[in-house]
Amino acid sequence: MESVILKTATRLMVGLILIFSFYLLLRGHHEPGGGFAAALVAGTAFALFVIAEGPAKVRTAIRLRPTTIAMLGLATAVAAGSAALLSGQSFLTGMWWGPGEELLIGTPLIFDIGVFLAVLGAILAVLLTLEDN
């Protein structure tokens, strides 16, 4: 689609939407949001990007191949789950590190990032291939 307004607006919007998506991802453990919603928001951003600029530009922008992103997501999720195995607990048991109750880093958060990447990769893969056709 050749539309100057769309293209200009998209440039602004995509960045904003992606930032919102990361915000959703990070706050998901305590507030509404989380990996799924964040991935869908990011997917929408890329859909906008693809419609405005075409799939080739998006591919260069994201650098990694979409299927690679999806696999990376699965690997992250598995890795997050396997962390518990190292300390002798069963697969996917949540592990937490950090000072105090309010500031903790834990494997469930990493798992959520895996979910985000997997779903985003899947959406991107379909979106870009569909547009290629």
């Binding site: 989380g34 799924f36 919603a37 869908l40 419609i51 299927t67 999806a70 789950g81 979106l127 291939t129």
Partner: protein, 759 residues
């Protein structure tokens, strides 16, 4: 080097085959090392729970009987593997061959050492599958494929029967641990299910061990490469049924029906196999029929109860494994070196293949039961056992006598046919000069034949070390079992001499007798194989008719069946409580939610009636958005957010794809009658769902899980958003499965979209 029936084998040997021979050899020596312990009466085993909920344990146990079988399997397996490394040298599928061979051997080993009945069944099926692959190894030949399929169908039908028997055994209260059986569960023999258990297990054993009337697959299975025939159809797989009968002997044996059935089936099989062995020109077919006879004899003897009868069975099992494997391998060598195994085209090989001739000579002397050979001892003890049989000693002894006499005649044919006379160079396919095969191919037959002499001269070695522990592991007894080289002048010796005499007479008059038998068989109105072929055709035809009717390719029909079945089957028990569910007063009505519901209903109407794609898409997003708002209203911001986002993306995808698809209106109009019927059915299903949901809502709610999640969400999992904590922590395995599904769906979609490569 001749081109054999099994593809282009070249000179040299297969290195893979030679190296992989180490596997059976190592296993053989492992089992040999257990010998001393077993002989002392100890039991070696490993036990590992696999699926305790199914009573399936990975437990293997080595007692006398298992050790005997394991030694036969690995010992002959070693020679067969060694032999094949030369037999299949240069064959382009030799890797596959050795994989199948060793996989088969391991299944067979598992079968004879399994202590859990289910595990035994699994290995049993393993042997069926790998024997199928091995019989059909020459997969470019339609005959081989057909024969492999025949073997598979017959033996796997038996496998199903066996499974049924195993399950019935459980129902009847018997243990699935085989070693428990020895301690006698007298109750089982009086259980009303006993006849069914017995029949089912017997069917499994009969099909596997090629008992009449399921014998026909065995001669046909000779389309396998010859070393495979030696391994599967002489020494191991067909003995699996015998092994099963031996194992079941303490549990199921001892009843009149056991003895009668086994003696009758075994006797008929033995006679029928022995008679047919006289006819064929193909040496492998001759051997196949003699194998059938041997299996019949074994079955017949397992019908008995006394120590003598069972000793006869176990001894003959060993005798037969030794000479039959040697014979098969030697005949494979003849085939390999001359390009034919037709009796009428062979002759004079005694001079050109002396080592093979020596092996065959030793084997046939053992087979016909000449004194000083292991077969002689086997025959002596066979007659002693037959006369000691409780119910039908006369019948058993007569069958054994005739079968052995015919065996003697066949043994003579096997030796004098190919090895005496002179070599006739008939046509291009046979070589001018014949020589002995490479060492890999004569070593096995020669050693196996040699063992027949060694054990014949010093039978004490086997009797106390192998036979006695084997017999005692199915028939605990006090008396010592001794095999001796000479039992003295008694009735068995007389019968032995008589056997040799009849055998000689039959051999001398073989032309007349063969012709009579051939005419006799040809004039039979019905053969077991014809029944098999007939039922197979019947099955295929009916399967086609049924499939064409049910699977007619119409999506409408499939869905109709599914929806109608669901509606009727669920409504039927539900109808009774329907009234109370529908008459309960409705709760308070929320105006916002009601308005939303009305909006959604209208949007549904748009989707259903839309003639244009865009209208339908619009309706669809209306439904999605309305439901998202409902979620928000009822305290579910997470799913409301997700639903809205998914709705957006769905619209993008649907628009991208749908605009490239034909308009809805292009589709043919369906008849009003069909649409009305579909509509009614859909409405009925919808009503059913409504009433079910109302029923669910009126029943008390179990909040156990929710309470747990609410209480532990922050304390244990450090998250305030309970829904997210469930997804990424409490139930993260589900989420893991879900993202795998999402990625796979995307992957499949991308694969579908990718432009096909190539022309």
């Amino acid at each position: 080097m001749a081109k054999t029936a099994h593809g282009e084998s070249g000179p040299g040997y297969s290195r893979l085959g030679l190296v992989s021979t180490l596997l059976p050899a190592a296993l053989f020596f492992f089992f040999l090392s257990c010998w001393a312990a077993i002989q002392r009466g100890e039991v070696v085993g490993i036990d590992f729970p696999w699926m305790p909920s199914l009573d399936l344990a990975l437990s293997f146990r080595l007692d006398g009987l298992s050790l005997l079988f394991a030694l036969i399997v690995t010992g002959i397996g070693t020679f067969v593997s060694l032999y094949s490394s030369a037999y299949l040298a240069g064959h382009h599928h030799s890797g596959r061959f050795f994989f199948f061979l060793h996989a088969f051997m391991l299944s067979m080993l598992g079968l004879v050492t399994a202590d859990n009945l289910l595990l035994l069944f699994l290995c049993w099926e393993g042997t069926t599958v790998f024997s199928y692959l091995l019989i059909g190894f020459d997969h470019e030949s339609a005959v081989a494929r057909e024969n492999a399929r025949q073997g598979l169908l017959v033996t796997s039908a038996g496998g199903l029967a066996l499974l049924l028997g195993i399950l019935l055994l459980k129902i009847a209260g018997a243990s699935w641990t085989i070693s428990d059986w020895l301690h006698g569960e007298q109750l089982l023999r009086e259980h009303p299910l006993y006849p069914f258990i017995f029949a089912a297990i017997l069917l499994g054993a009969m099909t596997k061990s090629a008992q009449f009337p399921f014998h026909f697959w065995l001669p046909n299975a000779m389309s396998a490469p010859t070393p495979i025939s030696a391994f599967l159809h002489a020494a191991t797989m067909v003995k699996a049924g015998i092994y099963l009968l031996m194992r079941c002997h303490p549990l199921l044996g001892g009843t009149f029906s056991w003895t009668f059935t086994l003696v009758a089936v075994g006797g008929v099989t033995a006679l029928w196999g022995a008679v047919q062995a006289l006819g064929p020109m193909d040496l492998k077919r001759v051997l196949a029929y003699t194998t059938m006879m041997a299996l019949g004899i074994l079955t017949m003897f397992l019908g008995g109860q006394s120590t003598e009868t069972l000793t006869a069975a176990v001894t003959f099992l060993m005798v037969h494994a030794l000479y039959k494997a040697a014979l098969f391998l030697a005949i494979g060598s003849i085939d390999h070196q001359t390009g034919t195994r037709q009796l009428d085209r062979l002759g004079g090989l005694g001079r050109s293949m002396p080592l093979t001739a020596l092996a065959v000579a030793a084997a046939v002397l053992s087979m016909s039961g000449f004194p000083l050979f292991f077969g002689f001892i086997g025959k002596e003890i066979m007659y002693a056992g037959a006369l000691a049989e409780e119910l039908f000693p006369g019948f058993t002894a007569t069958v054994a006598l005739f079968a052995n006499a015919l065996m003697t005649a066949v043994a003579a044919i096997l030796f004098f046919g190919p090895f005496t006379g002179s070599w006739i160079h008939t046509n291009e396919t046979t070589p001018m000069r014949v020589v002995d095969p490479p060492w890999q191919m004569w070593l096995g037959p020669l050693l196996l034949g040699g063992l027949g002499i060694l054990f014949g001269i010093i039978p004490e070695w086997v009797s106390s070390a192998l036979i006695e522990p084997a017999v005692f592991s199915i028939h605990p007894g006090r008396e010592e079992i001794r095999l001796v080289i000479f039992h003295g002048f008694n009735l068995p010796l007389l019968l032995s001499m008589f056997t040799l005499t009849i055998g000689a007479v039959v051999y001398l008059r073989r032309l007349v007798i063969c012709r009579t038998i051939q005419t006799g068989i040809a004039s039979l109105p019905l053969s077991a194989e014809m029944c098999y072929a007939g039922s197979l055709t019947w099955f295929l035809r009916n399967a086609e008719v049924v499939t064409n009717r049910i699977q007619n390719g119409s999506l409408h029909w499939y869905l109709l069946v599914i929806v109608a079945t669901m509606t009727v089957a669920v409504s039927w028990p539900w109808l009774g409580s329907l009234k109370s569910v529908l008459l309960r007063p409705a709760g308070a009505i929320d105006p916002t939610a009601t308005a939303l519901a009305l909006f959604i209903a209208a949007a549904i109407g748009v989707v259903v009636t839309a003639g244009k794609r865009l209208a339908a898409i619009g309706g669809l997003s209306g439904v999605g958005a309305g439901i998202a708002l409902l979620f928000l209203l009822y305290g579910a911001p997470d799913i409301a957010l997700t639903q809205l986002l998914v709705e957006t993306l769905t619209i993008i995808f649907v628009s991208l794809v749908l605009l490239r698809l034909p308009p809805i209106v292009q589709a043919r109009k369906r008849s009003n009658r069909r649409r009305a019927f579909d509509g009614l059915l859909a409405l009925a299903a919808g009503l059913l769902l409504t009433s079910l949901l109302l029923g669910v809502v009126q029943a008390p709610l179990d909040r156990g899980l929710t309470d747990f999640f609410e209480a532990n969400s922050f304390l244990q999992a450090h998250g305030r958003n309970i829904v997210n904590v469930i997804l990424v922590d409490f139930r993260s395995l589900d989420t893991m499965g879900e993202i795998i599904v999402v990625v796979l769906a995307a992957w499949a979609a991308v694969t579908l979209l990718r432009k096909p490569k190539g022309p």
